[in-house]
Amino acid sequence: MYKILLKQDLVPNIHLFKVAAPAVAKKAQPGQFVVIRIDEKGERIPLTIADWDEGEGSVTIVFMEVGTTTHKLALLQTGDFITDFIGPLGLPTHIDEFGTVVCVAGGFAVATIMPIARAMRAKGNQVISIMGARNKELLFWEEELRRVSDQLIVTTDDGSYARKGLVTEPLKELLEGDGKVDRVIAIGPSIMMKFCSKTTEPFGVKTVVSLNPIMVDGTGMCGCCRVSVGGETKFACVDGPDFDGHQVDWDLLFARQRIYLDEEKCSFEQWQSQSGILK
């Protein structure tokens, strides 16, 4: 059992948990993830690691309420326990001295990009971050990301805050601008990662994306998370989650993410009716 040391509601449907997991905290690196299981009947889901504190023995995860598991998770409070918390899994993001690195975060992936941006900057890169959300209410950690970046650009789809538009627009401007961009890290919803990759492709700038297919064990055992990269089948859990965005078969990823849409709906409706929570 893993204790929730702190719960923070970042925006109405996005939450942060700081979880006591000293051994995971000791080994965590940027870009890695954990697999959690809430309770005895729960499924195993992957969540990226947003932060860790070896001294405190804690690992921070940030998640958005989407299906049954994340809604159940959102009901837990500081002091409650998560049954299983397994990690750190996956290969860490490749951190090196690249020059200028653009870190693009869509939605709640700002939490995932934070440790990567921090590590990239610590390595001596110039870090330009772009964060985007649908609207002002869904934005969080603007100041936090600004602190670990040399420059920060914020966008909202509806223009309710900062620049109106999608993250791909300032990304394209940076690529067309005077400054050289050596590497792009794009993390967020799959569709956003796909379009960031499409944006950078004509410029030939290596673009790393963090794929989020459905997983079960997260250790290479089941092959549920298989993705096609450069024509080869890879397991995102052990070969990734980071891959070259220009090589990813995005349509396959989208299709495989939809495998359980019917079951996810069924599970969620059952949970809603049982728990008396109707939205």
Binding site: A23, I86, C224, L252, R258, C266
Partner: protein, 465 residues
């Protein structure tokens, strides 16, 4: 000399029509009368050839004699002296190629049903004895620490033997429950999970610490275990990496590795979805590719989930099926259709990326290959299509490279297995032993247990050296 009784006591089983719709255990187990009758058939020959056929050298004539004499606690004691997992072995060991094959009555085609008697003794103990009452005397502590990586049959056996010898043992398990393939792979109807849990609990009650959720190679490396508190490490991480066919269309939705399908169904209990949160696709027409026990398990799970038609698609003929005869018969009785001498060429999908068909070749058998079995050869121009909406690929597994790739100085083969001495399990790396599927590639529960046992003896010798 009394007349030989050549009538093996049959195993009572659930009716195929009923059992194909539920996940309850198929084989129901002997009654006390049946066990007594079967035990009475044993001639207690002085050769003890049955024990020679057992990879863990159980005193088989001894425990059978105790059943005959009605001394069940003695039967339990004799059985568990060598085998810490009798409820599991009694159910899933291939006795027909081991102890029962070497039984003196095997020549008369009527070997003693040793596996069924073993199961009877284990089930009797669980129902009638406090677990503490069967615990062996506490050994004198050796002061040595051993880490066992993986809690499948090899790891559990090694851990139990080592703790009984006085060593302090910790098992590290990557998943959220202990048992390895016994929990995620073998289905409930063949090996109930409460029986696995009871035997894991027994090993823990001997004093073995079990650390779940611990992915060695990620959370802690093997070298870190050795640098910290452990004097020796046993690797029993099995063969957990699924093999695919590498044919076009294999990533279509609806195509599972057997590992994923069985993990969802057994470990995550998807057969009880949505009570349990993990779903699994229930196909109408399900094709399982492969002919081993895992293929039979997958097919029988798919049937129980509610599929209309389930096929075993196998490239050789019936005699080459690697599955246990008993499991093939169980599958046939339940209505699994065998499409033999058939091999997939490619998977066909619809616009939503769902599998809808499988194009297959007809095969014929040629000369024997390296495995001694006749080589399957494609009949050119024989392609035909089988309609399917779920495909389960059960072609076998290879070891997960996670530990070998994060450890200095372990030798591996080109199949990813770890090189270890056959007799002792000793690897080329100092203080590290390995056994079970990680060394042999996918094999049986009992051979993994035998390897765990031999490695434990070698580790003990080293620690006392």
């Amino acid at each position: 000399m009394p007349k030989l009784n050549l009538n093996r006591e049959p195993m009572p089983r659930q009716d195929p029509k009923i059992r194909s719709k539920n996940f309850n255990e198929v084989a129901l187990g002997y009654s006390a009368e049946q066990a007594q009758a079967e035990a009475n058939r044993c001639i207690q020959c002085p050769k003890r050839s049955c024990t020679e056929g057992c990879p863990v050298e159980v005193d088989i004539p001894g425990f059978i004699n105790a059943i005959r004499e009605g001394d069940m606690p003695e039967a339990v004691k004799l059985l568990k002296d060598k085998n810490s997992l009798p409820g599991i072995c009694g159910r899933v060991c291939p006795q027909e190629t081991q102890c029962e094959a070497t039984c003196s009555l095997a020549k008369k085609d009527a070997p003693i049903a040793i596996g069924r008697l073993e199961r009877f003794v284990a089930d009797w103990e669980r129902a009638n004895m406090q677990s503490a009452s069967s615990l062996p005397a506490q050994p004198a502590p050796s002061g040595k620490q051993v880490a066992v990586v993986g809690s499948g049959p090899a790891g559990l056996t090694a851990a139990a033997d080592l703790v009984k010898l006085g060593h302090s043992v910790t098992i590290f398990e990557a998943l959220h429950v202990a048992g390895g393939v016994l929990m995620y792979g073998i289905p409930e109807f063949r090996l109930p999970k409460d029986i696995v849990q009871a035997e894991v609990d027994y090993v823990a009650s001997l004093g073995v610490k079990v650390e779940l959720d611990s992915v060695i190679g990620k959370l802690v490396t093997l070298d870190e275990l050795l640098n910290n508190d452990y004097h020796a490490v046993f690797l029993g991480t099995g063969a957990g990496l699924p093999m695919f066919l590498n044919i076009p269309g294999e990533n279509l939705n609806g195509i599972y590795s057997a590992n994923e399908f069985l993990t969802r169904v057994n470990l995550m209990k998807a057969y009880r979805f949505p009570e349990y949160d993990t779903p699994v696709k229930v196909g109408r027409k399900v094709a399982v590719i492969g002919g081993g026990n895992v293929a039979m398990d997958s097919a029988r799970c798919a049937l129980r989930l509610g599929a209309d038609e389930v096929y075993i698609v196998y490239r050789r003929s019936e005699v080459e099926l690697p599955a246990r005869r008993e499991e093939v018969e169980n599958a046939q009785e339940e209505g699994i259709e065998f499409k033999l001498l058939t091999n997939p060429k490619r998977m066909l999908g619809n616009e939503q990326n769902w599998v809808v068909g499988m194009e297959c070749y007809e095969m014929e058998l040629g000369e024997p290959d390296d495995s001694g079995r006749r080589r399957p050869i494609v009949k050119e121009g024989s392609e035909f299509i089988i309609d399917v909406d779920v495909v389960i690929v059960a072609l076998g597994t290879t070891p997960n490279p996670l530990i070998a790739s994060t450890t200095d100085g372990l030798e591996t083969t080109r199949w990813g297995t770890v090189v270890a001495d056959e007799e002792t399990g000793k690897t080329v790396k100092s203080q590290v032993w390995a056994g079970g599927d990680i060394v042999t590639g996918a094999a049986t529960v009992i051979s993994a247990m035998g390897a765990g046992k031999r490695a434990a003896a070698s580790i003990d010798e080293y620690l006392r050296g």
